[in-house]
């Protein structure tokens, strides 16, 4: 029987974005990463070619994160004491990108200084060849001080600087423009808020192909359905031709999943939750793959085992079958 498969013919496409710069382009990366460029909903290979695969970014900290789940610290072992060594280990596990998430405090408990932030960034850049995302500690004044220092120090590397939010984006965008970097624009699970922030950031003069949007998500069991649907709606809007939604998307399933009780806590929980390690990894993997299938271009992960499983899933999803 001949069947006429209904195919969507979309007007719009997601922008293609390049992260990182090699020595030919004024940076020091061994390779760059291209994301975006889709003209279909996720993995609809039968409708159109999918130019770039979603990528896995691995989150590391500038020093040992004592508030992380013991399962993560056990898995990474001593590399967590040095950002350069940690980044190298992540790269060897298959990280397409590294996310260096700076802490609010330095090793001695002091507020992090620009010098400490630069030194952590430098050591990651020196030990790895993949492009880098650097995120401030999430406190407005501290973020601006450290991100500006890093942006100037690494001019031309095409780093991704995060996080721009509606209450703090001007300083980060300005330094990204001046020093040839990209930014992450984060909003709270809402299509219109996402569009609005993209407009504000691009109005400052930063080209749209240097903005990655983070629509945020909840973890599995903690609001993932909102993240899932907001991402599907943003991607549909992009394909329908809405310019301000045509940006690749980054989400942080690792961060979200590892703050849930299901992943963080191993004792005193219901027996029906099952084995702690298996459950925690499933929590991260299910959160990540659900979001990849709703349109994520970059997923930021934490556990080595999750990185492996999610990368395999992406390989399968990018297989073009008959």
């Amino acid at each position: 029987m001949q069947i006429d498969i209904p195919k969507d013919k979309w007007q719009g496409a997601v922008r293609t974005i390049t992260i990182g710069a090699t020595s030919n382009d004024g940076g020091s990366r061994q390779k760059t990463i291209k994301i975006g460029g889709q003209k279909t909903m996720p993995f609809m290979h039968f409708e159109n070619e999918i130019p770039h695969r979603p990528v896995v970014a691995v989150e590391i900290k500038d020093h040992r994160p004592n508030d992380w789940s013991p399962l993560l610290l056990e898995a990474w072992k001593d590399v967590v004491d040095d950002p350069g060594i940690w980044a190298k280990a992540a790269e060897e596990l298959g990280a397409d990108l590294i996310v260096l998430a700076l802490s609010a405090t330095g090793k001695e408990g002091n507020p992090i200084t620009p010098e400490e932030a630069i030194s952590a960034t430098r050591s990651v850049l020196e030990s790895t060849g993949v492009p880098l995302i650097v995120e401030g500690p999430g406190q407005v004044e501290l973020d601006n001080v450290v991100l500006v220092a890093i942006a100037e120090e690494t001019k031309g590397e095409k780093l991704v600087l995060g996080i721009c939010e509606d209450n703090n984006y001007r300083t980060i965008v300005a330094t990204a423009m001046a020093n040839e970097h990209l930014v992450i624009a984060r909003t709270a699970m809402d299509v219109n808020l996402a569009k609005q922030l993209n407009i504000l950031v691009s109005d400052m003069g930063l080209p749209l192909d240097r903005i990655i949007m983070d629509p945020t998500t909840g973890a599995l069991g903690y609001g993932i359905e909102y993240g899932f649907s907001v991402m599907e709606r943003l991607r549909l809007a992009a394909l329908q031709g809405d310019n301000m939604t045509q940006l690749p998307m980054i989400v942080t399933p690792g961060y979200e999943a590892w703050k849930t009780k299901e992943s963080k806590v191993g004792v005193g929980v219901p027996e029906s939750w099952g084995d702690w390690l298996e459950r925690a990894i499933n929590w991260e993997v299910i959160t990540a793959t659900t979001l990849i299938e709703s349109g994520a271009d970059i997923v930021v992960l934490r556990h080595p085992e999750s990185i492996k499983i999610v990368k395999n899933a992406i390989d399968e999803l990018m297989t073009v079958s008959a």
């Binding site: 029987m1 498969i5 808020l193 609001g223 298996e278 299938e293 079958s321």
Partner: protein, 439 residues
């Protein structure tokens, strides 16, 4: 796809006899299209038109029911491709495979575990739907022994898996008063399988390599009088499964293509296959083995994805007393989004420390979302505090704000001058530590 009023009008007698209660046939057709009247109101509609109209009003994806004991599982009837367009309606059934190669002890252990498995998620009890009995040995006696063992322990619905009609028949013979599912009919055994499905009123899984073969086979099977069909298309990887499932859903919904207008079934051996089955359109999900550490997150995912996006689950705003608080105990405030409430309430309860939990009406949004949308600001919080008269219950007016809205503490001090405003942790999981150390 439902017919439009004009398409329906063309199938009506067009005599404007008014006996249906409407002034014209067109008016009646419009009401039919809107599903506000029944076709039976028209005494003169031809048999031929009746058949066409009934077919067009059938749901694009057939509703399939399997049941046993007091269990009833309904799957299908879906109407959208994306959950935000309306909602996903009937949660995919989750089944655990047991095979006839297991020792009796192993079998008993698994069946008991699965049957009694219950897990609480935001106040809802989640459980596994049933068992998929797999004939590995191709021995009728062994197959029947497994079924009897399951039925001694559990009344949950069953799927029988074998390509051999004799095995399936033996299984069907020993059960009674239940609708089970048999898997599967293919291009070689379909006549015998269809006959079994018809005789025993079982739901029939049809398995092929491609959707073209599937459409041909379901038509042949339907012609024998079997209507309760479930589709199993072989997929070698996540990509082909996703495109097959999407094509089937699109053909059913957009083209009203009847040969594929049935729910699908996915057999999963990995966490990623199972995840995709739940988010992308499977009607039944059969897991290779039982592990609570996988079943729990999958049940939660199913619950999340099948939540009606128009109706976030809310809890009643008000004052909740946790661990018998006394007048000197702290007042915590949060929003009435169910997940937010349950996260906070569970943590406070787990800490063993008493507290008054004030749940403000934030239109069912979480703390950050509600704050961003202006539904959880100082004014609203002050209104809740005053409205619920919490001040009369406590001697020490001390309120703990969620860490995510620390910025509100200044405004709140102005709104509630006689209260001491404290900033709590951002995440619920850190509440016990906070209560122990800071309060």
């Amino acid at each position: 796809m439902a017919l439009s009023g004009i398409q329906i009008y063309k199938l009506l007698p067009q005599t404007n006899c008014k006996e249906c209660g409407y002034p014209t046939c067109l008016a009646f057709a419009m009401k039919l299209a809107a599903k506000q009247v029944e076709l039976t109101s028209c005494p003169y509609v031809s048999e031929e038109s009746k058949v066409q109209l009934e077919e067009s009003s059938a749901p694009p994806i057939r509703l399939i029911t399997i049941k046993s004991g007091h269990h009833e599982l309904k799957v299908g009837n879906e109407v959208v491709l994306f959950r935000h367009e309306k909602t996903f309606l009937n949660k995919p059934g989750l089944f655990i495979t047991v095979d006839d190669n297991l020792s009796n002890d192993q079998l008993m252990e698994i069946v008991k575990q699965v049957d009694s498995y219950k897990v609480n998620y935001v106040g809802i009890e989640l459980e596994v739907d049933g068992f998929a009995v797999l004939s590995k040995t191709d021995d009728e006696k062994k197959f029947c022994e497994v079924i009897s063992t399951i039925r001694n322990v559990s009344q949950k619905p069953l799927i029988f898996i074998s390509k051999n009609p004799k095995i399936i028949e033996a299984g069907l013979e020993i059960i009674s008063n239940e609708v089970c599912m048999i898997s599967s009919a293919n291009s070689t055994n379909w006549e015998e399988m269809a006959a079994l499905a018809k005789t025993h009123k079982a739901v029939l899984v049809v398995e092929t390599e491609t959707i073209e073969q599937m459409a041909e086979l379901t038509e042949k099977i339907k012609a024998t009088g079997v209507e309760d069909i479930v589709l199993a298309i072989s997929a070698s990887d996540l990509s082909s499964n996703l495109s097959q499932q999407t094509k089937i859903r699109k053909l059913a919904l957009k083209n009203n293509f009847k040969p594929l207008g049935y729910p699908t079934i996915v057999y999963a051996s990995s966490v990623t296959t199972a995840t995709q089955a739940i988010t992308k359109y499977a009607g039944f999900l059969v897991l290779e083995k039982f592990s609570p550490a996988l079943v729990y997150p999958l049940l939660v995912l199913r619950q999340n994805i099948y939540t009606d996006p128009q109706k976030p689950i809310q809890v009643q705003p008000g004052v909740y007393e946790i661990n018998n608080p006394k007048p000197e105990d702290p007042v915590l405030i949060t929003t009435n989004f169910s997940i937010t409430y349950f996260s906070v309430a569970n943590e406070v309860e787990g800490s063993g420390l008493p507290a008054w939990l004030v749940v403000a009406d934030a239109e069912g949004m979480s703390v950050l979302t509600a704050w961003a949308a202006g539904k959880f600001d100082a004014e609203r919080i002050a209104k809740s505090i005053k409205g619920f008269n919490i001040a009369e219950k406590v001697t020490r007016k001390r309120m703990v704000l969620p860490g995510h809205v620390a910025v509100l503490s200044g405004e709140l001090e102005a709104e509630l001058p006689d209260w001491e405003i404290r900033v709590g942790p951002r995440e619920a999981v850190d509440i016990p530590k906070y209560l122990k150390q800071a309060i």
